[in-house]
Amino acid sequence: MTMKDIVGLPARVLALALLSVAVAGPAAADKDAPYTKDGEPTYTVKDGQVDRGTYNGYRRFHSTCHTCHGFDATGSSFAPALVDSLKRLNFQQFSEVVINGRQVAGATGDRVMPSFGMDPNVAQHLEDIYRYLKARADGALPGGRPQRIGS
């Protein structure tokens, strides 16, 4: 399968597949990787500590994504602040953008988000990255390194 195939078609399929995993997921313990009743990945923040999934999301975000989207998802001079974007995007919309990429032409020049569908460092951790970003966007988690529940 080429990159183009991935970019073109299966995003929705993949996203749906991920969603179905989510729906099938077990009722979450606080310290694991929780889901909402609707099957959306979500986060637990307790006394400033987070679930394992959100913590992993923090790490994955600050390995790959922050080089454009900035520390703590607050954006940079060339990519949007995801603490804002995630106020609007649900998990499916988020997954579509990350897997497909996005290109926006504007007065400030092209803004291009690459496709991460083939990047296991991102694609395999979509739910956790979403958990982290959602917690940041909801104002539930301050900037900086969170601690795991029970650590």
Binding site: M3, G48, Q49, Y58, R59, H62, S63, T64, H66, T67, C68, G70, F71, D72, T74, G75, S76, S77, F78, P80, A81, V83, D84, G101, Q103, T108, G109, D110, R111, V112, M113, P114, F116, M118, D119, P120, N121, V122, P142, G143, G144, R145, P146, Q147
Partner: protein
């Protein structure tokens, strides 16, 4: 046969002359101080001008002569080239080039704008910067983001030839300024965060045909090393293929060692100098042979190379940070100077490395003469062993010793380095170097990553903050004695000083700040003489030239680059205004013990977004009444 021997004699004569190997037009242009002929001012990379019409007495009267918008908003590194009546400026992606007529300031003689695939943009790790063009033999050489090296007619902007130096779908891009020596133009490669295997490549200036390519990792034949001849610490390397055996498996194939810094050249020794970058993934455990640091130098990443420009053969090598554990990307420029050390006149090379040590080496032999910290707060190593050339690493700050998934805290400097790409300046008048620096520390947590071509290959979570227990700012501008290995004076700055410095015969040194100020200081003591706020933050280099007998200072503003990540977060939205502030505040919960209360000396620490916004603008200054 007779003809051949005569030819040999003639070649030998040229060889002895040495400088016959330089490019005549570059030599001629840089010898004339009215020009600013190369990005670093001259082959030696000194960024010094013998002009003195603007000097310590009248710099206070400096004012704007004219300005020009580039129409591009991203980070503007590099600077304007001036040759005669023409100024050449460039932009970040889409890599426009403008030739401006100095007789009618700001009038566009020609403009070049390449059409490039926008999917190049996201594989540029740290903004879509470009460090400028090279001009030689009536041609302008531009290294485009999409790996195209193009030669343009300097008078008309017409394309003369193009060459393809890499493939962005594998994460390769171009950001560095090319170097021209004789009939060859040299380009490197960017993409150290994408598992790219670095190399330096020579192209024929007339045809664009590749002449040689020397890799930074792999077998000796690829690296152009002869282990019997190429020296390291003054002796032949001896062992074969260290570029393979110091890596686990075939990790050397994605071993980084990218070559995106500045290149310098000694016309007498006929050697080109450059540094190689970080060794692939930031997770050292994945680069360890048998889990043993002593077997894992990851050669020849983090290495200063001295190469023959004709053949690419390595004359000598020096690896500054064997087995990197902090992203101390060793690409910084090697400035060539002739200075007195211990009463002896020496031909040296001075390198202000990302790792916080300033190295003075004999540039003919690679002998290590001085290695000292140029920021006293550097803590990951205590010193450099002058016998082996190796750093003495402090276990506490070893991200390898602490292990995967362990957060190593309080490492100074941060991955940004004590200095990044911002080039320093050497003044032959004072014998000192003038260095724009960062003053930032970090927490670093390595973890396992998988490699996918064209995707980021990092494997570490990093957070950064101003150096604790210091003046609270994130930068310094320092004067450095390369013989003693000592700071002579130091000026604290609120943000990292990400702009290239300039020194002049007039006794004035210049640098730019991320807030957008051009600052002029007295080279003697660092006392501020003048400042002016340009439209955007400065990550470009400050250059000087004369036109019609009048001296000018010129700089590109346009905040961005790696400095624009986090730092510039506040530019985009209100709630992100304190982004860098937040990012640099260590997380109290994890108890790194770092105090940020003492921010007083430089003033309250604020977000860059409160000082400047995006915008690519050229500003040219003069003193109206120059005597």
């Amino acid at each position: 046969m007779k003809d051949l021997s005569r030819w040999l004699l003639v070649s030998a004569a040229f060889f002895v002359a040495g400088s016959a190997f330089a490019n005549d037009s570059v030599m001629k242009n840089q010898a004339n101080p009215n020009n600013w002929a190369t990005q670093l001012g001259n082959y030696q990379g000194q960024r010094y001008s013998p002009l003195d019409k603007i000097n310590a007495n009248n710099v206070k009267d400096l004012q704007v002569a004219w300005t020009f918008s580039t129409g591009v908003l991203r980070g503007h590194e590099g600077g304007p080239i001036v040759i005669g009546d023409m100024m050449y400026i460039h932009t970040p992606f889409p890599n426009k080039v403008f030739a401006l007529d100095l007789k009618e300031p700001g009038r566009v003689v020609w403009k070049y704008e390449p059409v490039q695939d926008p999917t190049v943009i996201p594989v540029m790790c740290c903004d879509t910067v470009n460090r400028g063009v090279a001009v030689a033999d009536g041609k302008v050489f531009l290294a485009q983001a999409d790996n195209t090296l193009v030669a343009l007619d300097a008078q008309t902007g017409k394309e003369l030839w193009k060459a393809k130096n890499g493939d962005h779908t594998k994460g390769e891009t171009l950001t560095a300024a090319p170097l021209v020596v004789k009939d060859k133009v040299y380009v490197g490669i960017s993409g150290g965060e994408f598992g790219v295997r670095g190399h330096l490549t020579a192209y024929d200036t007339n045809s664009g045909k590749m002449v040689w390519r020397a890799y930074s990792t792999g077998p000796d034949a690829d690296v152009k090393i002869d282990p019997q001849k190429t020296t390291m610490m003054g002796k032949p390397i001896g062992q074969k293929d260290l570029g393979v055996s110091t890596w686990p498996g075939d990790e050397w194939k994605r071993g980084g060692g990218t070559t995106w810094g500045w290149y310098t050249y000694d016309p007498d020794l006929n050697l080109i100098y450059y540094g190689t970058g970080n060794p692939g993934t930031w997770n050292p455990a994945q680069r360890a042979v048998d889990g043993d640091r002593s077997k894992s130098d990851n050669k020849w990443s983090m290495t200063i190379f001295a190469r023959d420009p004709e053949t690419g053969e390595a004359k000598w090598v020096y690896q500054k940070t064997p087995f990197d554990e902090w992203d101390f990307d060793g690409v910084n420029e090697n400035i060539l100077a002739d200075i007195s050390i211990g009463g002896q006149q020496r031909k040296v090379l001075v390198n202000f490395d990302r790792n916080g040590f300033a190295y003075t080496l004999d540039r003919a032999t690679g002998e290590l003469l001085v290695a000292q910290k140029y920021d006293p707060t550097v803590n990951w190593a205590t010193e450099i062993d002058m016998k082996t050339g190796r750093p003495k690493v402090v276990d506490k700050y070893s991200t390898f010793a602490n292990g995967e998934d362990k957060n190593t805290t309080g490492v100074c400097p941060a991955a940004l380095g004590t200095k990044d790409q911002q080039p320093a300046s050497f003044s032959p008048d004072t014998g000192l170097f003038y260095v724009p620096t960062n003053h930032i520390c970090m927490d670093y947590e390595p973890f396992s990553v998988s490699y996918t071509a064209g995707q980021a290959y990092v494997g570490s979570t990093v957070s950064m903050y101003p150096t604790p227990n210091s003046h609270g700012g994130m930068g310094n501008f320092i004067a450095w004695d390369p013989a003693a290995g000592k700071i002579v004076w130091s000026r604290p700055e609120r943000f990292a000083v990400w702009s290239g410095a300039l020194t002049t015969k007039g006794g004035v040194a210049y640098y730019g700040t991320l807030e957008g100020y051009v600052v002029a200081v007295n080279m003697k003591d660092g006392q501020e003489l003048w400042r002016f706020k340009t439209p955007s933050g400065i990550i470009g280099n400050i250059n000087t030239y004369t036109h019609n007998g009048k001296q000018y200072i010129a700089v590109l503003s346009g905040v961005g680059g790696w400095a624009g990540i986090g730092l510039a977060a506040g530019l985009t939205q209100e709630s992100g205004a304190g982004a860098w502030h937040q990012a640099v505040h260590p997380n109290r919960a994890t108890g790194t013990g770092i105090e940020t209360a003492g921010l007083g000396a430089v003033g309250a620490h604020k977000s860059l977004g409160e000082y400047t916004q995006l915008g690519g603008v050229l500003t040219v200054f003069h003193v109206p009444d120059q005597k």
